[in-house]
Symmetry: C2
Subunit: 197 residues, 2 copies
Amino acid sequence: MKQLQEKIKNEGKVLSNQVLKVDSFLNHQIDAFLMREVGKEFADRFKNDGITKIVTLESSGIAPSVMTALELNVPVVFARKRKSLTLTDQLLTASVYSFTKQEENTIAVSGEHLSSEDRVLVIDDFLANGQAALGLAEIVEQAGASLAGIGIVIEKSFQEGGKILREKGFRVESLARIKSLEKHVVQFLEETEEAAV
Amino acid sequence: MKQLQEKIKNEGKVLSNQVLKVDSFLNHQIDAFLMREVGKEFADRFKNDGITKIVTLESSGIAPSVMTALELNVPVVFARKRKSLTLTDQLLTASVYSFTKQEENTIAVSGEHLSSEDRVLVIDDFLANGQAALGLAEIVEQAGASLAGIGIVIEKSFQEGGKILREKGFRVESLARIKSLEKHVVQFLEETEEAAV
């Protein structure tokens, strides 16, 4: 997605060979118009898949998910990273390790809002090690729902998450795929390369 | 806002005299279409106030905020409830006690994304004790920005938050104001009553 690549090039901050900070439009400040375009792109890629629900993870997954939801005319459910007092019964949970925060979180979705009738699109902001996406996929499976695919705003293709998910047979649609952050330069996978990865 | 009141009546679960659970459209599952209407309503109420930025709190404030942002053509910044490793410099912080979760959180916004030039609309999902809104207002003040007002999706008017904020001189616009949850019935403030509160 060209518009997203441009935004990453212009505003992304490469903190190391591993870490790209996009706090100006996705992870802290949110560019609602860009998120609307992201939503349209996800919707376009999954429009023929009979999606009934979008499942994402708080907090940065919410904006792209609600914009996709507008296009696909389905609800969003966001997994919480820990239990709140008003979210008690029928919890579907998975354990997710965050390398960024160096901590293990339980993520949870209420069984009230995800059922075996659902055909799910999982959306997340970043794909790095794949832990969050795997946790969300596990929750979808626990609900007995079917997973149509995983929509990722930014994939760091040089980390193993994308490979792990695709080897498990999941359909992964990433709107920007980063090949390298070396020498503080963001390099994207070209489309010809994408086909081969 | 009639559409919101209807949704609360039909899907809200009154857990006690104090607690209303709206997990089916706001706090866990999100109704993106209702959020778009919420966004239009906030935008309409603040369209002449020169808003340059929306400030909200993760996670449930994000959906109504991005929809408002589309209408007002401004960015959203969401305060985080604790520091992440990629959010380091120039932090504006406030301490917020959550009665629901019975814990004290530090909420933080990067000074990179909020400046003295900004005219801010604070948006949050619920107004109960007012702690979150006060924390966000404190952060706006620390940035030297001006606060145009506070937009609340659901105000529990029988708790003290609304009174505290209005007595401090803040303009508070709540789209649904709940007078009582007694006997498991949601009662709204009527508009004639609203004027008097």
